[in-house]
Assembly symmetry: C2
Homo-oligomer: 198 residues x 2
């Protein structure tokens, strides 16, 4: 398969927004794949906040980061992403280059513990407020299970309602599958020069 | 703006499918941007077929290719893309790495002369038959004008109906714009090993 998966496309779109020395947030640490990606991108001068409510997830993420030798760039936060706004240092707010969400349950973990529409929207709203101009938030949605379908629809509605002068929203996914496949929503905060660039 | 436009995303997805020495088709030569991109990708050992019904488009494409010194790799065909099936050399059928469609009217040209749903679907069907396993067809749709809306919907329906065992369909576009923005559909022909890769 040549077409990137939604999670891979998220990395590509985030890559363009996140510089060496930057600040990033993994809103759903899970098994730590996105956290590790972000830690590599920001380099030794940057920092990453990673949120998860499950101890298993934070332990696995911590282990992954230690193996890669990048643990000191990452602050693991044992809390839901809906408190993101308060947990990010005041000096980092409005300066974040990328926030990544990978919704649903922890792969290999308890499938009844999933992200939920209400807290996800709270967290996404907070994330957009934390972004620097030019910063990007990505959300991979999983409509293939019932609760995931409701959550995905809520995220789509939220993103569609964003002011096009302030944010640009891209969507990427597969179309001809019998099941409802995961898809990516990516939100870019427009900069001051956006009226000229358009 | 950091997120690629649908036309740029088409180049990225085609890039992964088209090797040095490959065969490619620009189904809508227009001003020649995609033709030139394809000619560069296939290199001096490859070849590109470029279709257009308008002399202005073929002249402009030819000029662009000559300036870049790649004209000898490209066969310009003064015909609509719906005859693509017959115009490609028999030995090249089933060996094409990429076919690109950029629907609508010629930029800077006569806006009443546009591609149309019926011939576009004929051409797209032919294109999928010409592809090698792993090959990619891309279609940038413009639903922002009435005829373009009808055509875009027809292309979406056609792509959604493709057998997921034979083809993979990806879609990319912007979501929160007040106008109906262009979007990309990309179709990958699956290879013999696709059952294992899945």
């Amino acid at each position: 398969m040549k077409f990137p998966k939604p999670t891979e496309m998220a990395h590509r779109l985030v890559g363009g927004a996140l510089a060496e020395g930057g600040i990033a947030v993994d809103a759903t640490a899970g098994n730590g794949h996105d956290t590790l990606f972000l830690a590599h991108r920001v380099g030794s001068a940057g920092r990453v906040y990673a949120f998860d409510v499950q101890d298993t997830a934070l332990r696995e993420t911590g282990r992954r980061l230690s193996w890669a030798g990048v643990a000191e760039r990452v602050r693991l936060v044992a809390a839901g992403h809906e408190v993101m706004g308060e947990q990010i240092a005041a000096g980092d707010r409005g300066r974040v280059g990328a926030v990544m969400f990978n919704l649903g349950y922890l792969p290999g973990g308890d499938k009844t513990r999933t992200t939920e529409a209400a807290t996800t929207l709270t967290a996404l709203g907070a994330a957009l407020g934390l972004l620097a101009p030019g910063g990007v938030a990505t959300v991979v949605c999983y409509p293939g299970h019932p609760a995931g379908g409701v959550e995905a629809e809520a995220v789509v509605d939220f993103c569609r309602g964003l002011d096009q002068g302030e944010f640009r929203v891209a969507r990427y996914g597969f179309e001809n599958l019998v099941s409802a496949p995961p898809f990516l929503l990516a939100v870019e905060k427009r900069g001051r020069t956006s009226n000229i660039e358009r």
